[in-house]
Amino acid sequence: MGHLKKDNEFDVIIVGGGITGAGTARDCALRGLKVLLIERHDLATGATGRNHGLLHSGARYAVTDRESAEECIKENMILRKIARHCVEETEGLFITLPEDDLEYQAKFVESCLAAGIRADVIDPKEALLMEPSANPDLIGAVKVPDGAVDPFRLTSANVIDAKLHGATVLVYHEVESLIKDGDTIKGVKVFDHTTKQTKEYYAPITVNAGGIWGQHIAQLAGARINMFPAKGALLIFGHRVNNVVINRCRKPANADILVPGDTICLIGTTSSRVPFEEVDNMYVTADEVDLLLQEGEKLAPKLASTRILRAYAGVRPLVATDDDPSGRNISRGIVLLDHETRDGIKGFISITGGKLMTYRLMAEWATDLVCRKLNVDKACETMEIPLPGSEKENIDEISKKTWSKPGTPHKAVVGRHGNRAGQISMSSEYDASLVCECESASVGEVRYAIEELDVHNLVDLRRRTRVGMGTCQGELCACRAAGMLAEAHKCTETAKQDLQSFINERWKGMYPVCWGDTLRESEYSQWIYSGVCGLTGEGSTEKI
């Protein structure tokens, strides 16, 4: 849109910094729109960052939900091309155990093939060669094109590209209300949590990409979307037990997917309905931990003697179908709502439902609708253009091109930032020294994240760089990173508070699985932070 606009005027405002919002912001920006993306916390804080990180082949949905399965396999192939540094092509196995019905396998394979998903029945022995950690008792195995995807990296890459194409991204900005003019939404009134100021932004279209919280945003517009929050709990193990995704070949049930993700692997999930009021406060119960372990061991017996780092839970944003007046039936696929035709509210659309896997398609649909409303005639290109960092080479090639003698920290940086690693300074001894030793994140990488990737605090930093995600859960790295944040933001007091809340946030995830070495480590952490560093928060009764 060529004509000049004021600073607070945009073509489109997108509410929600999850993968859907980030993907929509990128798509809109690529089509030449002036975009504003607003997020009340940090990027990828909701369901986006709280799932398996599974690059679904779609096989899991093939039997029950053909449409989702077809979408998944198409997007799977696209993400392998456009998001190489966020994706790991691990392959996946669907294993049948003696207690499972082997007849389900035939039905499963047939459904996969019908949905366009490659599904090869392989000999159980071959499956064990492919993934030695899989349960050796398996009686059947099917190989499918599953993989792993890092949702934080994927969201961040979409945001980077949106910004490269002129988008404005405001994190820690919460929508207070929508600015209405009659039956038209003209913009948003937001509260800036950093400066504690209220601001107004205007655009002819506002896109609600709030995930589970989209119900609330729709309410602000005067529309009603019924969400069914479904909690899913997962366990993170201390290292990779498997290098191939292992699924149970049966009807989807609890804890039947084990995914290798970066340096760890995770088992999930459970599924339980939770009241809407609880979606901001998810915790994992002892029963859920037991269930995940018990079922997880059946996929890979080694899990029984592998250290568990933490437990966490996310909320699936399931949406009620519009054609069911009782509001009880759940819509499976992507839900795009044009509130003008649905509710008579102009300038407001909602994009919800769907999955991490189909975020790009969701963004495409939403952007197509935005463009139609704005009379912009430009085709979607996100299925072709690689995300920033994902341009071509593999980790080894990029490392060798960028540094003369790349070591583990250099390769780790490339692993996380792909081609953009070249922008990270690792030349001086200080820049190459490590902030996070478990995950090999350097001073240079942390500085880059603070300066370039909208990092406001330690938790944000963790999502961009994996600082604090390793075995020590912040024991050694959190204070170093807090020091760098204090320097960057020129405020020691804030950094200290931030450090405390970060340690507490790490503890929250360790608490449900705190035994064995994880208990020893947390005791040691406590000793360092409260005993040596004297970090005791006023008003905080929580054990750090």
């Binding site: 201390g238 290292h239 990779r240 290798p260 970066d262 340096t263 760890i264 931990v289 037991d290 372990l293 018990q294 029984a304 003697s305 592998t306 250290r307 568990i308 980790i395 080894d396 003698k405 070591g407 583990t408 390769k411 780790a412 692993g415 001894e429 490590l434 030793e437 478990c438 090999s440 390793g470 075995t471 020590c472 024991e475 050694l476 035994w515 064995g516 070495d517 020893r520 480590e521 040691y524």
Partner: protein, 415 residues
């Protein structure tokens, strides 16, 4: 169900709680900034390597395999083993000619002992050293240990084998390459001492190089073969001939006991407890009142004892020092716990020379200040390093014992 009671990690590297004390005790870290230290190279790096082999870091080659990190670790993590195993699994570079020459101690030894005077003279010549420095990257500062004329094994068979059966009790002796090819005198000393104590000394049915140099130079297949042969011979000695196995080299002994199962996957749990260092074996006999030692009158020596790294790992330094303290007239100082820097073949390599000497400096300085009559040590490569770097002579405690004992009276006392 209480899952907590069952779900305990049996992955050794996951027992690391990141206290970093290993890195504090690593001798390489302070002198070589390229080395990431045992914590990062070991348990930290392991998680990345399990993700993908490409995260293997070439700088792991700077690890001395001294195992000081393991001695320091309060969580029982076998850090040195993790690092060496990673080198075994992921290192793609094949060993250079130099590494093969340095590592194949028994092959080189068996050739060199046949023409020892020529080899010793040649290796000692300055132009030869210069050529080896340039072409093979063996540092010219280094002096190769002299090869002996004829091996220990040959001497044994010719001179002492025939009367070993006449003693009331028996042990097998793992002599190692150093005794066999370079310094048979140490083996002779051991036989004198053990015979005086009433023990016949026997060779193993088959003995190969323990393989420590093969492991550190990446020749794992050969190391495994040697480990198999040695363990089988030891098993025969222990179970068929009822003879425990003793050695005079702390590193060989350590390798036979711990590196075989940990790094090479050669099981030895049934014989491990029967392999020990001669000093510990003798000390225990004295302690149990089974043997008596009679010393020469007037023996006097000021001795500084250096504890080799693998001796620290074995935890057996105390047996050697206490044994030496039993000698009247010995004034013994145990030197501070420091690595000498040589680490077997490591220090011979040109690229490691500076680091090697920097690591050893505190040890050399302390010896220089103490001005002992000589240094005592249970490791042959520490001996070369200390002799080259300080000018002081280094003797094995068994040789000192052989010198100080009144062998005839001791024999009488133990009849």
């Amino acid at each position: 169900m209480n899952m907590q009671e069952r779900n305990i990690s049996d992955n050794n590297f996951e027992q690391c709680i990141k206290c970093t004390v290993c890195t504090v005790y690593c001798p390489v870290v302070p002198v070589n900034p390229l080395y990431p230290g045992p914590k990062q190279a070991g348990p930290d790096g392991e998680r990345l390597r399990l993700k993908k082999g490409l995260y293997f870091d070439d700088t792991l080659k700077y690890c001395l395999n001294c195992k000081r990190c393991e001695v320091a670790c309060p969580s029982g993590v076998r850090i040195g083993d993790i690092i060496q195993s990673a080198r075994i699994r992921f290192n793609t570079e094949s060993p250079k000619l130099r590494d093969m020459v340095l590592a194949n101690t028994d092959f080189m030894g068996s050739i060199a002992t046949k023409v020892a005077p020529v080899v010793n003279m040649t290796l000692g010549m300055k132009p030869v050293k210069a050529i080896m420095d340039c072409t093979m990257k063996v540092d010219s500062h280094r002096t190769f240990p002299k090869y002996s004329q004829g091996t220990f094994e040959r001497w044994y068979k010719k001179n002492v084998k025939n009367f070993q059966d006449s003693f009331p009790r028996h042990v097998s002796f793992f002599h190692g390459c150093f005794v066999n090819y370079n310094y048979p005198q140490l083996g002779k000393d051991l036989i004198s001492v053990m015979n005086a104590l009433g023990y016949g000394v026997h060779l193993l049915e088959k003995e190969k190089c323990c393989g420590v140099a093969l492991i550190s130079n990446g020749m794992i297949d050969k190391a495994k073969r040697n480990a198999g042969v040695n363990t089988e011979s030891i098993r025969k000695s222990v179970y068929e001939r009822q003879m425990p196995v003793i050695g005079t080299s702390s590193t060989c002994t350590f390798t036979l006991r711990d590196e075989y199962p940990h790094l090479l996957g050669v099981a030895n749990h049934d014989v491990r407890d029967y392999i020990e260092l001669a000093t510990r074996f003798i000390y225990r006999l004295i302690d149990e009142g089974k043997v008596k030692l009679v010393f020469k009158k007037g023996y006097k020596a000021r001795i500084a004892y250096h504890t080799p790294c693998h001796m620290e790992k074995l935890g057996w330094g105390i047996f050697s020092t206490e044994l030496l303290r039993k000698i009247p007239g010995v004034e013994l100082t145990t030197l501070d716990s420091n690595c000498c820097g040589i680490a077997g073949t490591y220090g011979f390599k040109k690229e490691n020379y500076k680091v090697s000497q920097a690591i050893g400096k505190p040890l050399f300085d302390q010896i220089g200040k103490l001005k002992p009559d000589f240094v005592a040590c249970d490791c042959e490569t520490c001996k070369w390093q200390i002799e080259m770097s300080t000018g002081y002579q280094v003797k094995n405690p068994i040789s000192i014992l052989a010198e100080a004992l009144d062998l005839i009276s001791t024999s009488e006392a133990n009849k």
